[in-house]
Symmetry: C2
Subunit: 138 residues, 2 copies
DNA sequence: TCAATAACCTACCAAAATAGTATGCTATAA
DNA sequence: TTATAGCATACTATTTTGGTAGGTTATTGA
């Protein structure tokens, strides 16, 4: 039941982009140095964020990434799912194809659904802005 | 963010013990056949449940396992944790030793804590009896 | 008391996932 | 036109997951 490092890094990258200099493009190297993450590994992560439309990029000198929206318009769920896929505790809940043969008479399914709902409820109600506001309190 | 097969099997085993014949000891082979799980794999799982005191055993002919308590006295959390360990989404929340160096100024920690709380709240309020009752409705 | 049964214990193993590297190509701005 | 920085693909080492295998110990019924 763990969030991968990719998911954790993704959230930190989004906070970084939102707080460091939201107006200008910031390079991977820049973020990687500040966040102490391998830049090649970060490249993979931010590429997923880019493909999901959560950030936009320009190449070349002075290139880099910036947010496409205001921090209040990103939920934690949007960010984590773009990296981790579904946050379901069992793959039966992911999509129709991954269902196990006994899904129809699975006594535990009801438990997994409740966990799924609870997790979704948390990640879909906390925004990037909430994280930033919360971190400033300390 | 997935529950392992061990965790899922453990829950099914507990339901099996509670519903098949709660008075008598039931052998691993018996459970494994009914639940279509490898008996050697099941042995590992049920051994953890035994060490955690969730079931008790006797050896020899007519030996096997039975519950130590009434189904209403087990929460899903007790069962899953005995197999999976903590259900925390990040290891920082597990125990003091696993903390990452930047835990003290981690902006995301507040998110992980909320997820942790939400998951705990679900698994600690659903009992084994609830699962059994729910499965009978269908 | 002895043979069958079934838990107990330890070790091993293959496949998949995770976390991260390496290399080369393409677009852009100074 | 060159330095910069994103883009794409492939590779690799480590850890976790999901099992197997084999021998030992305890119990019970005949």
């Amino acid at each position: 039941m763990k969030i991968s490092t990719k998911g954790r890094y993704a959230l930190r990258v989004m906070v970084d982009l939102a707080t460091t200099d939201p107006e200008n493009y910031i390079s991977i190297k820049n973020i990687a140095n500040r966040q102490k993450i391998s830049d090649k590994y970060l490249e993979q992560i931010i590429s997923s964020l880019n493909k999901a439309g959560l950030v936009k990029s320009t190449r070349g000198a002075l290139g880099g990434y910036k947010l496409t929206k205001a921090p209040k318009d990103y939920t934690v769920g949007m960010i984590l799912r773009s990296i981790e896929g579904s946050l379901a505790p069992v793959s039966c809940l992911d999509d129709e194809e991954n269902q196990c043969p006994r899904c129809s008479d699975c006594v535990s399914l009801y438990v997994w659904e409740k966990i799924y709902e609870a997790v979704n409820n948390v990640v879909d109600t906390i925004t990037l802005q909430d994280i930033i506001d919360n971190s400033k309190l300390r």
